[in-house]
Amino acid sequence: MAIPKEKSLEMYRNLVRARYLGEKIFEIFSAGGSNMVGLHRAVGEEAIPVAVCAVLRKDDYYKPSGVRMHPYLFCKEGFTMRDGLAGEMCRALPKVGGHDTYISPELGVIGKSGILGEDGPMYVGAALSAKLRKSGQVVVYTCGDGTANRAPVHESMVVAAALTLPIVFMIQDNQYGMGTARSKVYKIKDLSDRAKGYGFPGISVDGNDVVALYETVKEYVDRARSGGGPGLIVAETYRLGAHSVGDAQIYRPKGEAEEWWKKDPLPRYRKTLMGKGILTDAMVTRIDADAKAEADEAGKAALQVPLISYEDHIKWAYDVL
């Protein structure tokens, strides 16, 4: 499958933007006073949302993985980097850009759960809805390797299989769930074996390889869209940093992260595209500068977005006391 040049560049640009976004989040969080509740960094795992968003339609449904990937929704058509940042700080401009923090049904984002995996059934509902409405929409639901063990993720797969729903499950396998190494809780080497128990296709793919990701997601999304039902993609990647601020990482073997830094998707994809002549040094410099400027700008803009206020919050309620 040849990826159109424009798509390739879009994905490269998004990878760079994603990297700067991550740094901006860290910067704002570290500065304090940002109304930001916690910090779960995602450096090195950005290829996954970038590739998924490159495949999806604007009205397709997408749930990025667990606690760390939501700001990366900015790659999805209709969202901006400012939104990703503002959402992280629980700020919102009601209806500006048609969305409020992280939820925007018309852009395919219907919610997320702080309790891991509970958003699975919600997105299965979106898939059922797409099927009943015959809208041609597809859902991509992503969760972490730790989360993939949870009950609601299982029930999601059961129902999606039984009803042949247009949903692609993705496990973002970054080798850890908090302090728990994946190998401690799975007796299968290849998490995509889970698909065998449900009777839909499953595949593992290098989650730091944008090209492989794009091709696999496209194949699975196309199949789902044409009525072929669900599938499972496991994207193998690595959580380069701590689970969250405060995690001393006593469980991590020495040298492991260093090995994975060598597989960083960003320089890797840059090299691929330069090898193909799609990217030049000049473009790299410009994309980098643009992304950095965009992130700076987005940071400022996000801090201008008003905090959701008590009054906003209470307005809708019917039995406040």
Binding site: Y61, G87, C90, A92, P94, D100, T101, Y102, I103, S104, P105, I110, G111, K112, S113, G114, I115, E118, D119, G120, P121, M122, Y123, V124, G125, A126, A127, L128, S129, A130, L132, R133, K134, A151, P152, E155, S156, V158, V159, A162, L163, I308, D312, H313, K315, W316, A317, Y318, D319
Partner: protein, 331 residues
């Protein structure tokens, strides 16, 4: 007004409500376990597949979490789903979905749009089938932000309230009672009607004591009122019909008249809905307490699990004679 009526029991009334709403609004869809294959475990969805086809009603595997989560997902994406849980204890299998996703998730993340989802289920208590099957979950549902809680006791109310639930833009837990499904038929107007939420209904007027209750216990309270009447005590029976929102003003008005308040429910007493009803009453009428003729009383299931035995359940859950005795002790 001599309206035309049709005789329906409660499950027929619910079935009719579903069909009417499905005809009126193509966005209404229904899903759950054995709704097509068996017409619902208690014929709730009989004939719906035949009339509306596979785009409007779906049978799921035995996956309660998924059913509730799917209701959220459908409601966020242009449909108006009615998800069925085969009996009310099953909210416990989908508790995070019911309590934290359906009721509060979108607002926790700062989105304040509509979520027109109904979860339709029924309490299976009163048959001695044990705690697992007989749970009456309303106190827990009331403690969740963002859920409306409907608990009808007649065919007329069930129909009107279910239709209102389907048209509501917020999530609604519609909790019927299986023991009432096949009770006596009632004359139900052929013409469409809705019953608004938050309006209690005085099922029997009286002047000596106010019995506040809902769901199947209304019928026991009415039987108790009959018995009390024979003994010269006139009981007013207030059926709350919806617990969220709760019409406490009707209760206040009634108690101002009778001077006595007894709250009765089937669920366990400790931390039950009775406690909330009593607190709301006190908050709404703080001065009434000083002049009431007897201390407020509540009557619910004893604080132990329901043994799986028809011989023991009646000793744990309030019966007609318990209500009679409680009232007499107040007088």
């Amino acid at each position: 007004m001599a309206e035309k009526t049709v005789m329906l029991n409660q499950v027929e009334a619910m079935n009719t409500a579903l069909k009417e709403e499905m005809r009126r609004d193509k966005r209404v869809v229904v899903f759950g376990e054995d709704l097509i294959s068996m017409g619902g475990p208690a014929t709730q969805t009989k004939g719906i597949f035949e009339e509306f086809g596979p785009d409007r009603i779906v049978d799921t595997p035995i996956t309660e979490e998924a059913i509730v989560g799917m209701a959220y997902g459908c409601a966020m994406t242009g449909l108006r789903p009615v998800g069925f849980l085969m009996f009310a204890s099953l909210v416990m299998c989908a508790a995070d979905q019911v309590f934290l996703k359906l009721g509060s998730n979108r607002q926790e993340w700062g989105w304040f749009g509509p979520l027109p989802a109904v979860i339709c289920t029924d309490i299976s208590g009163g048959r001695g089938i044990g705690e697992d099957h007989a749970l009456s979950p309303e106190a827990i549902l009331m403690h969740c932000p963002g859920l409306k809680v409907v608990m009808p006791c007649t065919a007329y109310d069930a129909k009107g309230l279910l239709k209102t639930a389907i048209r509501d833009d917020e999530p609604v837990m519609f909790v019927a009672h299986r023991s009432l499904f096949f009770g006596t038929k009632e004359a139900i107007p052929e013409e469409e009607y809705l019953i608004p939420f938050g309006q209690a209904d005085i099922k029997r007027a009286g002047k000596d004591v106010t019995i506040v209750t809902y769901s199947a216990m209304v019928h026991k309270a009415l039987a108790a009122a009959d018995e009390l009447n024979k003994q010269g005590i006139s009981a007013e029976v207030v059926d709350l019909r919806t617990l969220v929102p709760m019409d406490i003003q009707t209760v206040v008005k009634s108690v101002k008249k009778t001077g006595r308040l007894l709250v009765v429910h089937e669920a366990m007493t400790r931390s039950g809905a009775g406690a909330e009803i009593i607190c709301r009453f006190m908050e709404a009428a703080p001065q009434a307490l000083k002049t009431m003729k007897a201390p407020i009383k509540r009557l619910g299931c004893k604080n132990v699990p329901l043994l799986r035995s028809p011989a023991v359940e009646p000793k744990l859950v309030p019966q007609v004679n318990d209500i009679v005795a409680a009232v007499k002790a107040m007088i």
